[in-house]
């Protein structure tokens, strides 16, 4: 039974047949897509098992802590494949994002062994790693007896992989030789432009080419399209206001958050002439074309307004634009995507990124078995399943971005997304300086931005005050 279909799938897995031919063959054999999917998973599992002793930890059990997110949903949908492959039982707790990191922090800081692995952002590992709450994964990645030969660590997007590795030295370069791999990137978000194509057509404007152009385009959209505002940007008093479009554009002008001197001492870098000029323009953009209650805006509001047709574009996470282009959003199918180069003298987009990653708890009772889960969940087979069958965007593996079926899916439903990714992936990385006061520095930065936008303080004066305050905090913490 299904011998012919198995041959077809086997040929596809060996690279002897394209996806389109496979689908044609499956259809010709009278098999449903769902049945073919099951058969494919079964055969992929067998193929994986052929090269590596996946059953080494059979009978053990693991518990995961997950954020309520499409990435977690994609993993859960494919979890049976892992159980079949390894014989390891996996249970999980899923918590909403608003409280997720409180739960993670509470579990780790109390030394709880309840969870073996969990989802995290790379920024958070700058706290978890030095505190001894998570494990350096290099030991497992580099051990051929523990990592399957098809894992292909070199397949990860370079800037993303490096952004998850830090040597623990304040100001130390991410991805340096001595860096510890605190987490494995799972999927990531680049901060670029998502725009409403109909509104752009109505106002007769093109995708902004640089920051000055963005100011002009956003203003024209707001003027010419009734009942909307020009550009959705985050504005709450939080690190999350600095991290998306704001920092991506800032980095494009080669500006930094902190300086690191030869002795490894840190100092604020926000009050340089270049930084002040950038801030002036960004503040102008928010004042002229941002949402009215910008200072309360988180990604929820930025995304919701775009999906509801209340804003003409956003300079934020690409996957936020991806999700707003589907479901019951009013603007579903109306959105387009583009890489953004803020600096007219720059040749490439340099998006700051958020990386949903997987980390291993240092309190896990069985780290080897946990690594089996981590390598499967971040492996190429699951990445392909998630990207093609679910909403596992943006994948962190180059091979997935080359996959014909995935590119076709994006091109069909998300016009410009592939081009956006191709144009900016090489420049995508975390642009912040890793250091323990990350959340304090960025929250104060966001608060200063709020005061500038509210015209409570001139930009140059506000940035001087910010730099002074941050330098004081760095000195008090022994970092400056």
């Amino acid at each position: 039974m299904y011998d012919k279909e198995k041959d077809l799938i086997g040929a596809f897995m060996r690279g002897q047949m394209g996806r389109r031919d496979l689908l044609k063959g499956i259809a010709a054999a009278g098999m449903t897509t769902a049945a073919a999917g099951t058969l494919y998973n079964m055969m992929a599992t067998r193929a994986l098992a052929a090269d590596f002793d996946w059953k080494a930890h059979s009978g053990k059990s693991l518990k995961l802590l997950l954020n309520k997110h499409p990435y977690a949903d994609a993993m859960i949908a494919n979890l049976k494949a892992f159980k079949d492959l390894t014989g390891i039982e996996v249970t999980y707790d899923v918590f909403p994002e608003d409280v997720y990191f409180d739960k993670v922090t509470a579990a780790l800081s109390s030394g709880s062994s309840e969870y073996d692995a969990f989802m995290t952002g790379a920024y958070m590992t700058w706290t978890y790693g030095p505190a001894g709450w998570i494990t350096d994964l290099k030991e497992w990645i580099n051990d051929p007896t523990k990592t399957n030969p098809n894992y292909n660590w070199g397949d990860f997007v370079e800037g993303v992989k490096n952004s998850c590795a830090w040597n623990g030295q304040p100001g130390g370069a991410l991805g340096s030789e001595d860096a510890k791999q605190w987490c494995i990137p799972w999927a990531f978000e680049q901060n670029n432009i998502t725009y409403n194509r109909a509104m752009f057509d109505k106002a007769g404007v093109q995708i902004p080419k640089n920051l000055d152009d963005m100011i002009a385009v956003a203003a024209k959209l707001q003027k010419d399209v009734p009942g909307i505002y020009g550009i959705g940007l985050r504005g709450s008093r939080s690190w999350a206001t600095i991290h998306p479009g704001f920092l991506s554009g800032y980095a494009n002008f080669n500006e930094k958050d902190l300086n690191v001197d030869a002795d490894g001492k840190l100092s604020a870098a926000m009050n340089t002439a270049g930084s002040k000029a950038y801030h002036e323009k960004f503040v102008q953009l928010i004042q002229e074309s941002g949402p009215k209650d910008w200072s309360t805006y988180t990604w929820y509001q930025v995304g919701t307004d775009l999906g509801a047709g209340a804003s003409a574009m956003i300079y934020d996470a690409d996957c936020l634009g991806y999700f707003m282009n589907g479901g019951d959003n009013k603007m579903a199918g109306e959105l387009g995507y583009a890489a953004f180069v803020a600096n007219p003298e720059a040749t490439q987009s340099t998006p700051n990124i958020w990386i949903w990653s997987l980390a291993m708890s240092n309190f896990s009772k069985d780290k080897d078995a946990t690594w089996y889960f981590l390598q499967w969940a971040s492996g190429p087979e699951h990445a392909l399943f998630g990207a093609v069958e679910m909403d596992f965007v943006d994948p962190v593996r180059n091979s997935i971005w080359k996959d014909e079926a995935f590119r076709e899916k994006l091109n069909k439903k998300y016009p410009g997304y592939v081009e956006m990714f191709d144009a900016s992936a090489a420049g995508a990385s975390i642009k912040f300086t890793p250091q323990p006061l990350f959340f304090d520095v960025t929250t104060e930065w966001a608060a200063t931005l709020q005061r500038m936008v509210a015209k409570q303080v001139p930009v140059d004066e506000g940035l001087d005050q910010l730099a002074e305050s941050i330098n004081r905090q760095l000195k008090e913490a022994g970092l400056g």
Binding site: P70, D73, P96, A107
Partner: protein, 285 residues
């Protein structure tokens, strides 16, 4: 004179109407939102006329939430059940422990009684986050982490001081002479407590129980830190509607309507009981 009176009445009615509208508007709006899809809720400008749908309630009850990311499993009804179970059992336990303790503090002055009572009250002063991390470790050692028993125990930090201090005040307001008279008739102190003190303090106990229930119902952080996802109350579960693929406003509104219903029903019931209890009180001025 009559003109002034009519004007005064009209103004008073107008003021009352404005106050009612002011306070009721968010509740009515949320109620209306619970019968709308995200698309109609986010319409600009907002519209009062819409085609009502039960899809939000259906999603909550069936546990299947349809969003931009596809169909997601949600555990709202489980969360609601957890809230009911945790709040009811915690308040019941706090009543069993707190009412006799309140009576003892009110009637029997002994050495250190005020200190003990104040210590119990001080549980309300401690910021929950300050005690939660050590508690997490203790709970793991004791095997109480991620158990309903552990949570009910921790919920006593909320319920017990409230009940103890409110009910103590009620017992102190009841004249001890009634109890003495009953004791002289040959009844034990426990019978006096059960047959005289408890019925007289009934309204106070009901009020304290209701207040403790509301505080327990609204608690967020204890279960979040100390328990797994399957034991989370509705306060944590309601956040699941804020998803990466958008905010499910309709479901949030339906969840609010469903989650306030038990508290509202209890408050309405207890209100009637309170009035009855007060009007039937044995000691009147």
């Amino acid at each position: 004179m009559e003109t002034t009176s009519t004007l005064e009445k009209t103004l008073r009615l107008l003021a009352l109407t404005l106050v009612v509208i002011f306070f009721m508007f968010p509740i009515v709006w949320i109620f209306l939102m619970s019968f709308q899809t995200n698309e109609t809720i986010l319409r600009i400008p907002p519209q009062v006329i819409f085609e009502p749908t039960l899809s939000n309630y259906t999603a909550l009850i069936t546990g299947k939430l349809t969003s931009a990311a596809g169909t997601l499993d949600i555990a709202f009804m489980k969360n609601l059940g957890n809230s009911v179970f945790l709040s009811v059992t915690s308040v019941a336990l706090a009543l069993v422990l707190g009412v006799p303790a309140a009576y003892a503090f009110a009637r029997h002055k002994f050495k250190g009684s005020e200190d003990i009572a104040f210590t119990l009250l001080s549980f309300r002063f401690a910021p929950p986050l300050l005690v939660l991390l050590p508690l997490t470790q203790y709970f793991q050692w004791l095997g109480l982490a991620n158990t309903y028993i552990g949570l009910i125990w921790v919920y006593q930090l909320i319920c017990l001081p409230l009940i103890l201090w409110i009910v103590r005040g009620y017992f102190e307001d009841i004249s001890a002479d009634v109890e003495y008279a009953y004791r002289i008739a040959g009844h034990s102190w426990f019978a006096t407590f059960r047959r005289i003190a408890l019925p007289l303090a009934g309204p106070g106990i009901a009020a304290a129980g209701l207040l403790a229930f509301i505080f327990a119902w609204n608690n967020f952080v204890f279960a979040l830190v100390l328990a797994s996802a399957d034991k989370q109350p509705v306060t944590v579960g309601a956040l699941a509607f804020v998803t990466s693929s958008g905010i499910q406003y309709g479901q949030i509104a339906a969840a609010i309507v469903l989650s306030v219903t038990p508290t509202l029903a209890l408050a309405l019931y207890a209100q009637r009981y309170l009035v009855e209890g007060l009007s039937l009180g044995a000691v009147k001025g």
